[in-house]
């Protein structure tokens, strides 16, 4: 059908994201749904299970580059990480160390640890963290793509920041504690989770890009995610990833220290936008992505 909009990353399921991101028909799934490796812990708590436990992992090519890819399903239990889900992610990254693909892509859409199996989820996330670092040590870049309704929070927010690149859409969110949690514990004055514009000004794609946390901001369509990813894969082909050394870590340390000083009292993304050279702060939220990126570039 004509007149149909390009497939939205935000709206699509994890499987559709994968299918449309990689070269057509190239996705080969590991531990696929028909193996029925569902969560025994959800079942014991009488909660619905999913055949893939909320994450699809496999290999594919993207613009001809061999990659490994994982996609979390945000609609299933908020993309939360349980034992099986986490093991699939960790296993994929282990495979990365062995197979040395051009990159491992993580399509992150998760609130973090799954409460029904919280201990298993927490350990799993730390295993995923270590596996990401092992991949990178082996010279395999790990890229995070964030643009789903659950964003990347909790432990998966940390995993995202371990990645070599973070490609975000404006709709995506990245943080540690969700606004609801902060509101529940600290009160609505601290963070009004129902003030959605505020939530996006604190955790959304644009503020993350302005801070330099996200390395790319793209439109909310799978094609845009694909073209930036393809570009990055080419770049890693020409210039392979070198393991992080102490100078790089120290530079990151200086950058974060500087941020803490510079925004010592900031509580609203408007302060970040202002510091990034945006003048009309009311307009920032509605700026098309290309324009936002251009203005950001000009102010640097």
């Amino acid at each position: 059908m004509k007149n149909v909009k390009p497939a939205s990353f935000f709206e699509s399921s994890a499987r559709v994201r994968v299918a449309k991101l990689v070269d057509a028909g190239s996705f080969k799934e590991f531990c696929p749904p028909q193996l029925r490796r569902t969560s025994p812990h959800l079942a014991r708590l009488n909660a619905p299970v999913a055949f893939d436990d909320g994450v699809a992992v496999g290999s594919a090519t993207l613009a001809g580059h061999k990659i490994l890819i994982a996609a979390q399903e945000g609609k299933f239990n908020g993309g939360a990480v349980g034992e099986v889900h986490g093991a699939k992610l960790a296993g994929l990254l282990d495979r990365g160390v062995r197979e040395l693909p051009r990159a491992v892509l993580l399509l992150i859409d998760s609130g973090g640890v799954r409460l029904h199996e919280a201990n298993a989820g927490l350990i799993a996330i730390s295993e995923v963290m270590r596996a990401v670092l092992r991949c990178q040590e082996a010279g395999v870049p790990v890229l995070a793509l964030v643009g789903g309704a659950c964003g990347a929070f909790g432990g998966m927010g940390i995993v995202t920041r371990l990645c070599n690149e973070i490609i975000m859409s404006e709709e995506g969110r990245l943080g540690l504690s969700g606004p609801e949690v902060i509101e529940t514990v600290q009160g609505v004055e601290e963070f009004d989770s129902r003030d959605r514009p505020l939530v996006w000004r604190v955790t959304g794609g644009k503020v993350r890009r302005a801070l330099g946390e996200a390395t790319y901001l793209v439109d909310d369509d799978i094609c845009s995610f694909r073209s930036v990813t393809a570009e990055l894969l080419c770049r890693y082909q020409t210039k392979p990833l070198a393991p992080v050394d102490i100078d790089e870590i120290s530079a990151e340390h200086a950058r974060l220290t500087e941020r803490t000083k510079r925004f010592a009292t900031a509580r609203d993304g408007r302060e970040i936008f202002q510091a990034s050279g945006f003048v009309d702060l009311d307009e920032v939220s509605l700026l098309p992505v290309a324009k936002f990126n251009q203005q950001l570039l000009e102010s640097l």
């Binding site: 531990c31 919280a118 201990n119 963290m129 270590r130 990245l174 504690s177 102490i246 340390h253 900031a266």
Partner: protein, 241 residues
């Protein structure tokens, strides 16, 4: 246990030089004649960006010092006592997860530079704060007072809408959601639990004998029966044809 008494018991009274600045501590101690670095938190610290930076800076400092001195990399003992991350809009805006990831990268860098890493949980070990460095260590040990958890059962009941009593019943034979170092031990997430009567100094020196940088926690989980799925599934994915 009072932090000074705890440090004395761990590293011997008067022979360590560990300074305590509010809920951050760092310094060095000697075990079996070998210098070790000690870095960590106490008083159930809520970890914010400043504290994450302090821990990171200490790790970087240890790596740099040993590099410049040309000495063999010192083991690093992480003292873990955290109620989790600081819950604040300001910290979220700054991307606290980015600071935590930085700390985790520092631990990993230390490992790659040959520093052994050992985490000692001496108070609370809760979610995000635990992930940043405690759970990144080669060996994770719980001291008797350790409380390891993501969330208590009352809160979990409220959020999952599963009755509290049912959760208590189910947690009796499943370690996957209820708080407790014992549960983490069964799942391989904690390597050792030290009792009050054991000689902690010899426990520590035993750990320092063999360095093992592999992450074998999933396999431990299978061996100890608390986490049967993780290892086989990771294996399946890692090696599927």
């Amino acid at each position: 246990m009072n932090i000074n008494r705890l440090l004395d018991r761990l590293f011997g009274s008067g022979v360590h030089s560990i300074s305590i600045e509010e809920n951050f501590l760092h310094g060095s101690a000697v075990i079996d004649g070998r210098e070790v670095a000690v870095i960590g938190t106490h008083e159930h610290a809520a970890i914010d960006s400043a504290l994450a930076l302090a821990v990171s800076a200490s790790i970087i400092g240890v790596i740099r010092d040993d590099l410049s001195r040309g000495s063999s990399p010192r083991p690093i003992i992480f003292m873990v006592d955290t109620q989790g991350q600081t819950l604040s809009r300001h910290e979220e805006l700054l991307c606290l997860n980015g600071y935590f990831a930085h700390t985790a990268k520092c631990v990993d860098l230390a490992r790659r530079h040959g520093h052994q890493t050992i985490a000692l949980i001496h108070g609370e070990a809760v979610s995000g704060g635990f992930l940043a460095f405690g759970l990144m260590a080669d060996r994770i040990c719980a001291l008797p007072e350790a409380q390891v958890r993501v969330m208590d059962l009352k809160a979990m009941s409220r959020i999952t809408k599963i009755p509290y009593d049912r959760l208590v019943d189910l947690s009796a034979d499943s370690p996957v959601f209820a708080p407790g170092a014992e549960n983490y031990w069964r799942m391989g997430g904690v390597h050792e639990i030290w009792s009050d009567d054991s000689d902690w100094l010899s426990c520590l020196s035993a750990l320092l004998v063999v360095a093992d940088v592999r992450d074998r926690r999933a396999i431990l989980g299978v061996e100890r029966g608390g986490r049967q799925n993780a290892a086989p599934i990771a294996e399946l994915v890692a090696n599927a044809l």
